[in-house]
Symmetry: C2
Subunit: 187 residues, 2 copies
DNA sequence: AATTACTTACCGAACATTCGGTAAAATTTA
DNA sequence: TAAATTTTACCGAATGTTCGGTAAGTAATT
């Protein structure tokens, strides 16, 4: 049998899983090869600039996913802000597999990774903040309130994911997401 | 001259700096050697079980520091809970160098590290929660309130440190600590 | 006090393994 | 056949770890 072309989507999925779990330095080409089903040299065919290009592809891939799922939902003006929030938070749960998956920002922001991806991480975080700021306004909070709340959302997601992993209890993430909903809906 | 003994404190300080910044896999023996002033072989003289023993020493060292500074302050019954809180938060700022240093839990809880240090990380986090739970009770919150607040403290510290690093703005950490104080003091 | 034995603290060099990366060949599509 | 894709085989460098050995201190013996 001739080796069939491995689909881009499968490759991205595999790379993403490894980088999220192990970070930049921790992710070896062997890991990436095993996760994608491609040999090292084949990965270099797809990503001539090596590991860094793979990590960049993962960042872009996730940014694309978040933009077209999380943000798109949260900013969809065809439905009420309340519904947007609930559906958007559901997408966030999907993104982090209910607390089982780490955030790529966290994984790639250790020294050795942080210099390489500084800009993407910063931009990515700003997108999160901008989106929730927008939603806050739509829910009739003041600019100042919405600003503080948006930053707080990012902090609580990141924090709960870490505590989640450290304590081995995904309920912590679930609760954090629920509290975000409550805060925005005043319940 | 007989080679002068490098002080344990210096070694721990160096090891801690590297593991906090780079994580377990990211910290190479070269890094650890440079940071401590001991050659690789000498590090193995002090830590016969190698890198893992070094990381464990760092965890113990930080746990000791936190116990004798952060927790001791927060639980010091000779002063009012309000004062305890303020002084304890000041110690926390010291621990994280006002947001410039990462948390060792975060650094060591990537895959490859997480299996090795699972227990210490979990126990460490539980100590944090127990301490702030105690403080919450001392400030007349109900058991349920104090429980939620304690977990929230851990989440906000961890989360703000990550967002801090990602956004390149230590003010985020400072604000988070201030909000913790406000929450406990109802201001 | 002098000799001997042992321990501590460190280091250079080598170990096997794994690292990220490359060239060339094999395989398959078109 | 020409182009694209994957593989085998390989490389130098870096990894964590171990070995052999040195210099200096301590303890025990005489």
């Amino acid at each position: 049998m001739r080796p069939q072309k491995v689909l881009d989507e499968e490759i991205l999925t595999g790379l993403t899983k490894v980088f999220r779990a192990k970070g930049y330095e921790g992710a070896s080409l062997k890991d990436l090869s095993d996760a994608t089903g491609l040999k090292k040299a084949s990965l270099y065919h797809r990503f001539p600039n090596g590991k860094q290009e793979m990590a960049n592809a993962v960042l872009s891939h996730l940014d694309y996913w978040v933009t077209n799922n999380v943000f798109k939902t949260l900013l969809n003006e065809e439905i009420t802000p309340q519904t947007r929030l609930k559906k958007g938070l559901a997408e966030i749960k999907r993104l982090y597999d209910d607390g089982n998956e780490t955030c790529i920002f966290r994984a790639l922001s250790m020294q050795a990774g942080v210099e390489l991806f500084e800009e993407q991480i910063k931009n990515g975080m700003q997108e999160w903040i901008a989106t929730f700021f927008n939603l806050g306004l739509a829910l009739n909070f003041t600019k100042q309130e919405a600003e503080i709340m948006a930053l707080q959302v990012l902090i609580e997601i990141q924090g709960s994911l870490i505590v989640c992993k450290g304590m081995g209890d995904i309920k912590i993430f679930e609760t954090a997401v629920q509290q975000i909903e409550n805060k925005y809906l005043n319940t």
